[in-house]
């Protein structure tokens, strides 16, 4: 067996390849992006693609699955919100070829707008979720997920967190399995969810979850490591590694399948230890479940609910030990080093002008969100991918024409394609008169320069149709469309003033290549 050091995300790509996956689709999002990049670079037997957003990517993967192929969809945690609509109903239809969804949570919000705990989504959508604790498991669990998916007719979610996805460790390499394309059998009762079909499928889903509950206790994904029985700790993901490091003598119930949870194993473990603890990042997901089974357990009164865990947090919580401080406190003030727009960044030109004009800016997700920080301090709302234009219309509806004359929405090229187009249609349709700046830097920059429908290249490196953004916004009904190089700040200022003043919807496209793009 060959062993190789791999990033968790590279290990997942390898796992999909070894499992015979044929189709992979996703949308970039830290910490999930490298999975598809690795597939496109190293595992070209898999047809990999960036979709315009996560919902589409899941639908592409689900289509491939129904058509008989093992398929994969990758996204960050908030991306699964976008894909929630197909997710909840593909839970009913189930799969043909195995369908695996990689969901990357981000405790600590290293590169995200929130710290949501997507274990709740697995439970709500009634889907099995695997939760690896290192890169080696990330590969093995991904492979296994395809088998579980086909055996139990469920899409399967593999959940990572930043410290799994962006952590490196040794991974055993295997060969690619020869998994033939399954036959596609026309079966509307399974694949067409009209109410009459959905009702019996719901019964089926509940039956499968009960079967999976048994599997969860028996499969070895969840396992008891008996050591000293005075204290028993239930833990999952990277938190398990912290527990092993700081509590080497305690018994541990390691959770590798976080939904459905293993009732029998939990009962066996909880009834034999003197004191029971749950150590998990984010919400008391396992803790609440264990309490519902009737056991007394300590968890979130000791382990923080906010932020990511570290070995020293777990050491302090469980052992009462503080880290040894070798150096005294530094008395002076240490300036922080927040991230910022690069020198020469095209977005910076736009924010310099917006700052000067002192207008309200409804923002969006991308590098340009850094326009909220000094020296620009020019962003006043932002929530999720594509929100800027809808919120901009809401501002106008609430505060009238005066607001629309002194505000703009800003959104990047990739984010506009992801989920800004429908909001622009809404602005025109519902007679908004606001100004939208599409900051077109010709790439999906923040996540590390991925291609998108407006770059004219696919993930696999093929030439393709380059989406014409001007034609797109005109088709939405916007008559005033200006394309401008933002480096020409004098002209840009004039254009922004003119377009804000115009009592009809307008789009300014500030077009200049990302300074880091070759």
């Amino acid at each position: 067996m060959t062993r190789q050091l791999m990033l968790g995300n590279e290990a997942i790509a390898r796992g999909a390849w070894e499992a015979g996956c044929r189709v992979a689709a996703g949308y970039p999002g830290t910490p999930s992006t490298e999975i598809l990049e690795t597939i496109a670079r190293d595992y070209r037997e898999i047809k990999a693609q960036w979709s315009p957003n996560e919902k589409v990517s899941l639908e592409v993967a689900a289509g491939a699955s129904v058509a008989g192929a093992r398929s994969l969809s990758t996204m960050k945690h908030v991306g699964l919100n976008v894909a929630a609509d197909p997710l909840f109903t593909f839970s009913y239809t189930g799969v043909n070829g195995g369908l695996v969804i990689i969901n990357a949570d981000d405790p600590g919000a290293w590169s995200s707008q929130n710290e949501q705990d997507n274990r709740h989504i697995a439970r709500a959508a009634k889907l099995p979720m695997l939760d690896p604790s290192n890169p080696a498991e990330a590969k093995e669990f991904t492979k296994l997920a395809f088998e579980i998916s086909e055996k139990y007719d469920r899409p399967v979610i593999v959940r990572t967190t930043t410290r799994i996805a962006h952590s490196q460790g040794p991974v055993e390499l295997g060969e690619r399995a020869d998994v033939p394309l399954k036959d596609f059998i026309r079966d509307p009762k399974k694949y067409v969810m009209i109410p009459a079909h959905a009702r019996p499928r719901h019964v089926f889903v509940e039956q499968q979850i009960l079967k999976l509950k048994e599997y969860s206790s028996q499969s070895g994904l969840n396992k008891i490591e008996w050591r000293n029985k005075k204290r028993g700790i239930i833990s999952n993901g990277v938190a398990y590694q912290y527990v092993r490091e700081v509590c080497p003598d305690d018994s541990v119930l390691k959770i590798g399948m976080v939904w459905p949870l293993p009732d029998e194993l939990i009962k066996e473990f909880a009834s034999q230890v003197e004191e029971l603890y749950v150590v998990e990042e984010l919400d008391p997901f396992i803790e609440d479940y264990v309490k519902a089974l009737g056991f007394k357990v300590k968890g979130k009164e000791l382990i923080p609910i906010c932020g990511e865990l570290t070995p020293e947090i777990v050491n302090k919580a469980l052992n009462g030990k503080d880290a040894e401080k070798v150096l005294p406190e530094y008395a002076g003030a240490l300036p922080g080093r927040p991230p910022g727009l690069c020198k020469g960044c095209p977005h910076a030109f736009v924010f310099n002008v917006l700052k000067k004009l002192d207008v309200v800016v409804n923002g969006d997700i991308g590098c340009y969100t850094l326009g909220v920080l000094p020296p620009y301090s020019s962003m006043h709302s932002q929530g999720c991918m594509g929100a800027s234009i809808g919120m901009h219309l809401g501002f106008e509806k609430a505060r009238g024409d005066e607001m629309a004359r002194h505000s703009v929405a800003v959104i990047g090229d990739s984010t506009f394609i992801h989920s800004g187009i429908t909001s622009l249609i809404d602005m025109v349709y519902n007679r908004g008169t606001g100004t939208v700046i599409i900051m077109d830097n010709r790439v999906t920059a923040m996540t590390g320069h991925q291609e998108n429908p407006a770059t004219g290249k696919t993930l696999m490196g093929d030439d393709t149709y380059e989406l014409d953004l001007e034609m797109m916004v005109k088709a939405c009904g916007v008559k005033r469309v200006v394309v401008i190089d933002p480096k020409n700040m004098e002209e840009l200022e004039k254009v922004i003033k003119e377009e804000m003043a115009a009592p009809e919807p307008s789009v300014i496209m500030t077009r200049r290549k990302c300074i880091l793009k070759k």
């Binding site: 050091l5 490196q168 570290t310 530094y330 020296p375 923040m446």
Partner: protein, 191 residues
Amino acid sequence: MKNVIFAGVGGQGVILASKVLMEVAQKKGFDVKESEVHGMAQRGGSVDCNVRYGSEVFSPLIPKGGADFVVSLEMLESMRKIDYLKKDAVLIVNREQINPAPVEIGAMKYPEDIEEWLKKNFANTVVVDTTEALKEAGTRKALNIVMLGCLSKYLEFEMKDWEDAIKSLVKEQFVEQNLKAFTLGRELIKS
């Protein structure tokens, strides 16, 4: 187990430095774990990599008070890692200041006493001046490998192990330059 933290500013190449160390340790038969941060933090913000190797490594994160080495590619960044130092650790710092945004806009001052303070409070502080080495290497981009060269003087691995790892991880046209940078880094540490 050995615990090494590489600290720096986004774009300085701490990830490559840690990859080379991991490769060496893995080839020597150690279990290796590493943790890094991508995405928004990389846009000129503080970045770090944790590398751990030994017979069996659990956590990919080094706990506070658990680092055997902190290698900082920038002065100020070293100060963010002092809580991680073990008593007998070695702190290797590149004597270079990169102004963070609050200093650039005049809201704060870059602390001038870092080197003096570190040397006074932590005996195993080694501050290196990489200016000449980088000139000789022919590129400022090789700073990460120069600093790795410094670190290598304290580790048990042989020169050949490092060379093999650099060759396997660096693009072919940059191998010579990086090998030179590595050697220049070693020479910065008095044996």
